[in-house]
Amino acid sequence: MALRIWASSTANALKISAKSTSVSPAFSLSRCFSSVLEGLKYGKSHEWVKHDGPVALIGITDHAQDHLGEVVFVELPEPGKSVAQGESFGAVESVKATSDVNSPISGEVVEVNTKLSETPGLINTSPYEDGWMIKVKPSNAAELETLLNPKDYTKFCEEEDAAH
């Protein structure tokens, strides 16, 4: 099991390395080999948020998609729905499992990524770009300060993996 996960993470690292020349955001490579991007904030249930003006972009991290396996289905909320920090807003299906996806911030959903209906695997291949899940108009800017920065999230992942 450990060898399979290491191999999966290594393959993922290689994919990230190959893409890095064309991806503009800086990234740091954690010791667990999943990529963690600079400029984003992270939740402890492995979601990321990018605050871009009046709207925040949300998805799941590379670490999360790596542990889930191939994503085959995505359930998203309707635009106009409210989301609350730490509460589930949707789900992904992978390897026989439905996994909740939690919102790192509170607010109103203004757009969902409809490409995920036909191509749910974008969450695996491009978790921080084409695999974004929802756009939210934040209702409480202070919540962003409660999230983890890239360095702290990397450490969180390492400690979580080491505990199991």
């Binding site: 099991m1 402890k44 249930s45 542990h67 889930l68 396996g69 085959v72 289905f73 995505v74 359930e75 998203l76 909320p77 309707e78 729905k81 730490g86 589930s88 807003f89 949707g90 789900a91 299906e93 992978s94 390897v95 026989k96 499992a97 439905t98 996994s99 909740d100 939690n102 409809t114 995920l116 209906s117 036909e118 749910p120 979580e160 993996d161 505990a163 199991h164």
Partner: protein, 256 residues
């Protein structure tokens, strides 16, 4: 080290929809660990996973003709047809309930596989094959899971016996495990009753669970088990949904 507590609920013939609602309620509103064993369900029912598409998975004409109920459940995984000869086993746990078990899909499936290895203990060449439980190379049960940030649920419907006619409601799935090798349903599945008695299976499952948890039996009449849960995502599909053309794509399903 003391084992964590787990409530054991033994049911007999509860409808599968009611069982799924109960499981969701315990998953979402309880902070305790649960093992639910339902010995059979009253009416033949088709149960699809969260992304199941009726037009792809079912012979919808005969399903509608024979008025077979179709449920879409909240967990992932494939499609089954269940009846009074199906034995259901569900584990609902806090994420830290099993020491050293990280609650991601593969590890939970691996843990459950080990548990059922103890149940069968060499009977029928039991093995876990591409996430399915097989005896003699034929499937008699699978894995379906639901995972939140704090808890996980793993459930299986075991084919203690089945009617050939019921299998005709199911199409050959487009995505099938490699070991299926294109076999029809009847050549792919087997009956657990050919290997172990029903009471023995239930007893051995409880015994295997006791190696991980201190089980506390709960009475079926307990209030907690009978209270309604309004937010359940497992539901019966409507006739319109079964009759819909393939343009319907549950991957765009929105949470209401």
């Amino acid at each position: 080290m003391r084992l964590p507590l787990m409530n054991l609920v033994k049911l007999n013939g509860m409808s599968i929809l009611r069982q799924l609602h109960l499981e969701e309620k315990l998953m979402r509103t309880s902070s305790e660990n649960w093992c639910i064993i339902n010995d059979g369900t009253i009416k033949p029912t088709i149960v699809m996973g969260i992304s199941g598409k009726p037009q792809e998975l079912l012979e919808t004409e005969s399903v509608l003709r024979d008025e077979i109920p179709v449920i879409r459940r909240m967990s992932g995984g494939g499609t089954v047809i269940v009846d009074q000869d199906t034995v259901f086993v569900t584990f609902i746990c806090n994420k830290d309930a099993v020491p050293g078990l990280k609650p991601d899909p593969q590890r939970i499936i691996h843990w459950a596989g080990h548990l059922y290895e103890k149940v069968f203990n060499g009977i029928g060449n039991f093995s876990v094959c591409e996430n399915d439980y097989v005896l003699g190379g034929r499937k008699f049960g699978g894995n379906a899971l639901s995972i939140t940030s704090k808890r996980w649920l793993q459930h299986t419907s075991f084919l203690w016996d089945y009617k050939k006619s019921n299998m005709s409601y199911l199409k050959l799935p487009q995505k099938a495990p490699n070991y299926r090798q294109g076999r029809s349903h009847l050549d792919f599945i087997c009956r657990m009753k050919d290997y172990i008695s029903r009471p023995d299976f239930i007893d051995e499952t409880i015994r295997a669970a006791e190696s991980h948890f201190r089980l506390t039996p709960l009475n079926q009449e307990d209030n907690l088990l009978n209270q309604q849960y309004e937010h359940s995502r497992s539901r019966l599909l409507t006739i319109d949904e079964l009759e819909e053309a393939p343009v319907y794509n549950p991957a765009v399903a929105t949470r209401v």
